[in-house]
Symmetry: C2
Subunit: 249 residues, 2 copies
Amino acid sequence: MADGNENGNKQEPEKRSLLNQHTESHFTSGEIVRDIIIGVSDGLTVPFALAAGLSGANAPSSIVLTAGVAEVVAGAISMGLGGYLAAKSEADHYTRELKREQEEIISVPDAEAAEVAEILAQYGLEPNEYRPVVNALRKRPQAWLEFMMKFELGLEKPDPRRALQSALTIAVAYVLGGLVPLVPYMFIPRATDAMALSVVLTLIALLIFGYVKGHFTGSKPFQSALQTTFIGAIASAAAFGMAKAVQAK
Amino acid sequence: MADGNENGNKQEPEKRSLLNQHTESHFTSGEIVRDIIIGVSDGLTVPFALAAGLSGANAPSSIVLTAGVAEVVAGAISMGLGGYLAAKSEADHYTRELKREQEEIISVPDAEAAEVAEILAQYGLEPNEYRPVVNALRKRPQAWLEFMMKFELGLEKPDPRRALQSALTIAVAYVLGGLVPLVPYMFIPRATDAMALSVVLTLIALLIFGYVKGHFTGSKPFQSALQTTFIGAIASAAAFGMAKAVQAK
């Protein structure tokens, strides 16, 4: 905890000691966890709903399995490759904006300096308070560039490995999620029987996954478990209903 | 364009004039556009691949349509509701972090001031250069709070309407995307014939959508059109192959 000294003119060592003593436990969720959540959320829900819908429409297990596996593979590729291209696109966007800021710092430094002033002025700072910062940045072009990227544009430098890592994580998570509701159809020939087991397995998986997701994202885990299972229930009920409706025509 | 005056001690009106004259055209893509892209990307790809896979496995059009419609409905609900809960979760996260920072500013202001110093020191600023900023923020608790939220945690205040808007946009986009490859199966009873038309329609749709996406995200539109269509081709080829494999057992 900090000492009671309210004086702003602290020695550097004392500041660093304060920083070390006072650890703030702000929540940070890893990118990998986020990708797993994205993949498993849809992977558990959509193949389950599709299989349930087709079972309700009296399709045999072989057709249900064919459709389910085809959907899981297509979904994993679409989400995985789509996520890869999106991450690449963000990286390219960052690089373009970086180049643009670099040129502006060189060609129109006064306008850029005015932007720094405007950014700091938003926090109620007076010119005499922020002018030393503006002048200091003008003398350090690399730091100035990083300051503009972060504080004007709000862009973080993306990790080049992220795109591939993200794509693979989402795709694998989707496949693993999708397998849970489909496994019963691999062993039970009557789709309606397989569906019963599929519902039980998927329900349990959704509850567990929802709970774990809530834990990682800092939401209430029980509430998250119920919400996640609720989405699965709604999606499968809708798929079931639509499948019956299409078959009735 | 800026005047040639390199002096940092500018008058405020001159700075504002510089800001108005010099408009930087940094790219900004709306949240709605992003959600449409997310929805249509998967909506065009997965139902198309699923339908193609089932057609290749010799299912009749009625089964393909049943599976396709069930998948579109399930996918739209999963992505839409999932997106809604994710946005709500981010909003709750922001509120929790805001409260925590608020308490820390009140209870351990010296540690928080040290954090401001550390943030600014990352840009090569010396203590005498950033100290006026630290002291100025200490006198303005609301501005200090906003500064910590943005510069320490990198969190923006989310719009409360975003969650619902995002969910509906993604869901509707997914449904509209999914209808394109499925419409032929509504009118052509032989699945293999319907698939031929489905391939043509979806290919055209993927090319157009990919081009428009590239335009909006600042990537090269032609490259984006080809990449988007390529994903659709890969996903449907994989679904086709998996469906054949499952049927062969």
